[in-house]
């Protein structure tokens, strides 16, 4: 059935260039597409759009907090800003962008021509898209733009009883519920698709043990989505029943419990962190070997660590609830499990370092972002272990220390790895190289901005500044720190502008990239840039974890050693 020869010829025939289509046909083509590459790009563009919106919301908060007693926005608007910022960044930036890269890269990496269920893939994207549109319609619905009366203001984890009909009048919470419910269905569909693709569509020779780590890690990501999105969906259905049918799930007056909402939310919420960070690990695991000119160090251990992180991440959720008050047994369990998850994560960091050790390091922009990821993710992990100690958490839970910690994870870790991935795969997606100088400038400006904002954010937290306050009294030792934090935001915004400019200008004017600009080893670099609709003219056959190494070095192929 399969051509069982090893790869010996280019895997794509030169694409036939169609005449330029009318605009309507092109738009129609993008809207009705079921091609994994186009859907991947749609996810990514959609997420970049919301990244800018979420960034503007963050900037509004930081401007409000730049000095004590500021009145840039009202407390009500401030509440809406932090709710929308958190919800947007998690559900409509981080998840879609990860799904975008997974969608784009997985079929190419495992030698398939599309995802297992292409139409389900399109369905998943459009559900996510409509979820975001419904959430943002809340600015226009209800009492209108300036009143912004219907915009959710209950925090991104929407704790009960704030969400009960008596405290959240109007439809604001409903926009939050329904937006996330719909995009959640899309996410589950996409995750099912990713899992099935990885299980069933690998090319001949690509056993699980020869799969790129990218595929392994995103298999765990998709598994976590399948397991963790359900609890969120269930909790939101319960909240809808409470709000619309007069149910009592989270109604303490009728015997319900507000705490149970926290449990249900965080049963989803903590695995969600790993849903976001696992693709970041996957990016780093592809980029560091290529720019160190070495195969990944400790592949089987990496796979084991990935799977154990997946399992442990399902049992740490209540470390978000130490300040709520649990039994000593509950506290002890969640302290121990949270600390335990640092072990496989640490193993990964050492494996990436081991890959770099003795390698021929090439500090192009993707590698710079990955190196910064290693440092920053380490620090984020260390503050994570600090916060996992229940008594320490009682002191600092709900303070800016926590905000600094998780932004270190999400920005310092995930976003940096994501920028690395953007620069690494941009030549493949667009067929053109980005501007290396602008890329490096983006890196340094954003790095400075990141550290100004989030290093210094730990300090007001330790000094007792709580999260979600819209203003504060002068003379508590928080003023200077808040000023520095806000200045950092300016640098980050400039960095993002450079990034977007670089992407757009390189897309039109960058020099042609060729099939394999990085001299990389995974299958996506064997086809043309951008890849043709069918990805591979002949389905590749692989014998090792680095099929393109085998192709380029027939005298010394990898499969002799694996």
């Amino acid at each position: 059935m399969w051509d069982a020869e090893p790869i010996s010829k280019p895997l794509a025939v030169p694409p036939v260039r169609d005449a330029v289509q009318p605009l309507f046909d092109r738009v129609h083509g993008w809207i009705t597409t079921v091609d994994h590459k186009r859907l991947g790009i749609l996810y990514i563009v959609y997420a970049l759009f919301f990244l800018v919106i979420g960034g503007i919301e963050a900037s509004i908060m930081r401007l409000q907090l730049i000095r004590p007693h500021n009145d840039f926005v009202s407390p009500q608007v401030f509440n809406r800003m932090f709710t929308m910022h958190g919800t947007t960044m998690i559900f409509f930036v981080a998840m879609p962008v990860m799904f975008g890269f997974i969608n784009y890269a997985i079929p190419l990496m495992i030698g398939a021509r599309d995802m297992a269920f292409p139409r389900l893939n399109a369905w998943g994207f459009w559900m996510t898209a409509f979820g975001g549109i419904i959430l943002y319609f809340s600015f226009l619905g209800g009492s209108g733009l300036y009143g912004a009366g219907s915009t959710p203001d209950v925090g991104w984890f929407a704790y009960a009883p704030l969400t009960s009909p008596s405290f959240s009048v109007g439809h604001s919470t409903d926009y939050w519920i329904i937006g996330l419910l719909i995009s959640g269905f899309g996410s589950i569909a996409t995750a099912i698709n990713i899992l099935t693709t990885i299980f069933c569509l690998r090319c001949p020779g690509m056993t699980l043990g020869k799969m790129p780590l990218f595929a392994w890690m995103n298999m765990v990501t998709a598994g976590l989505v399948v397991l963790a999105l359900g609890p969120l969906t269930a909790a939101q259905l319960m909240l809808l029943i409470d709000r619309y049918l007069g149910g009592h799930f989270f109604d303490t007056q009728a015997g319900g419990s507000a705490i149970i909402w926290m449990h249900f939310f965080w049963v989803f919420g903590h695995p969600e962190v790993y849903v976001l960070v696992m693709p970041a690990f996957a990016f780093v695991s592809e980029i560091i070997p290529v720019f160190s000119r070495k195969a990944i160090f400790g592949y089987p251990i990496m796979v084991g660590a990935t799977i154990s992180i997946g399992f442990i991440s399902m049992s740490v959720w209540a470390h978000h609830m130490f300040t709520v008050g649990m039994t000593s047994y509950g506290n002890a369990f969640f302290v121990a499990s949270t600390m335990a998850i640092a072990v496989p994560t640490g193993i990964k960091i050492f494996n990436w370092l081991g890959t770099m050790w003795g390698g021929k390091l090439i500090f192009k922009t993707p590698m710079l972002f990955c190196v910064a990821f290693l440092f920053q993710f380490l620090i984020a992990g260390l503050t994570g272990v600090m916060l996992s100690v229940a008594p320490f958490n009682w002191q600092l839970g709900g303070s800016y220390f926590v905000v600094a910690h998780f932004h270190y994870v999400i920005v310092g870790g995930i976003l940096f790895a994501l920028f690395g991935a953007f620069y690494y795969w941009f030549p493949k997606m667009s067929g053109r190289m980005y501007n290396e100088k602008l890329g490096k400038l983006h890196f340094w400006v954003f790095l400075i901005g990141f550290h100004l904002t989030f290093d210094f954010m730990h300090i007001p937290g330790i000094l007792g500044m709580p999260r979600r306050i819209y203003t504060y009294e002068p003379g508590r030792g928080w003023d200077t720190w808040n000023l520095i934090i806000t200045i950092g935001v300016l640098f980050q915004a400039v960095g993002i502008l450079i990034f977007v400019y670089n992407l757009v200008s390189s897309y039109f004017k960058g020099k042609l990239a060729g099939d394999d600009p990085w001299d990389a080893w995974t299958l996506e670099w064997s086809t043309s840039s951008p890849p043709p609709d069918y990805n591979f003219a002949t389905i590749p056959v692989v014998r090792s974890r680095r099929p393109l190494w085998d192709l380029k070095h027939p005298e010394d192929p990898d499969w002799k050693y694996e």
């Binding site: 010996s8 399948v226 609890p231 259905l237 319960m238 149910g247 419990s257 085998d550």
Partner: protein, 198 residues
């Protein structure tokens, strides 16, 4: 670039494309189980915490007949799968119709039970915490049965029009997995609602 001439190991074949429907359905079942598990946990956690009546013991009766019907439908659908795998379309249609009838009896039984609970016992989704958890858990399951019945009926319509052939046995099998899942979840819901907490 010439391929290597060294004797290379034969590549192992990964899972076949043919299995992707089953793998996808298994993943959906896992995702659905996660949703159900939260409702089950909520039901168990809130059992006996209702402030106002009626209590489960006063109003709930084990739906033996309904449950037997639903569980038997798993058997009839397996018979239908066997029939279509051997190309016996007419036999397939009969077993399939029987599955729908059994599923419909279950749904009608649930409707009767709810009618009685609402109008005789005054238990509604908003009347007490027990009502909230009961109607949402049993209702979530009933909703899945309805979705299953809709799918079954569509396939029955296609069968009646003569579109369903032996080569569709695999797809019929994938759909049957969903129906088995709906039955299996009823084992959990039945034990939790009518035996463990009553």
């Amino acid at each position: 670039m010439a391929a290597t001439t060294i004797a290379v190991p034969q590549p192992e074949m990964p899972l076949s494309h043919e299995l992707r429907g089953r793998v996808g359905m298994w993943c959906l079942i896992v995702a659905e189980s996660a949703i159900f598990s939260i409702f089950v946990v909520a039901y168990l956690y809130y059992a006996g915490k209702s402030i106002s009546g009626p209590t489960p013991r006063e109003v709930l009766h084990v739906p033996y007949f309904n449950s037997i019907c639903l569980f038997s439908s798993s058997f009839t659908i397996v018979m239908a799968e066997h029939a279509i795998a051997r190309g016996k379309t007419r036999l397939f249609g009969i077993w399939w119709l029987l599955t729908i009838v059994l599923g419909a009896i279950f749904i009608l039984g649930t409707a009767r039970e709810w009618y009685g609970l609402i109008y005789r016992d005054g238990l509604t989704i908003s009347s007490s915490l027990f009502g909230t958890t009961f109607y949402s858990l049993v209702g979530l399951h009933a909703f899945h049965v309805l979705v299953g019945l809709t799918g079954l009926s569509i396939i029955l319509a296609f069968t009646a029009l003569g579109y369903v052939k032996q080569e569709h046995a695999e797809r019929i099998g994938v759909f049957a997995m969903y129906w088995h899942f709906v039955d299996a979840i009823w084992v959990v819901v039945l034990s939790v609602v009518y035996f463990i907490t009553r």
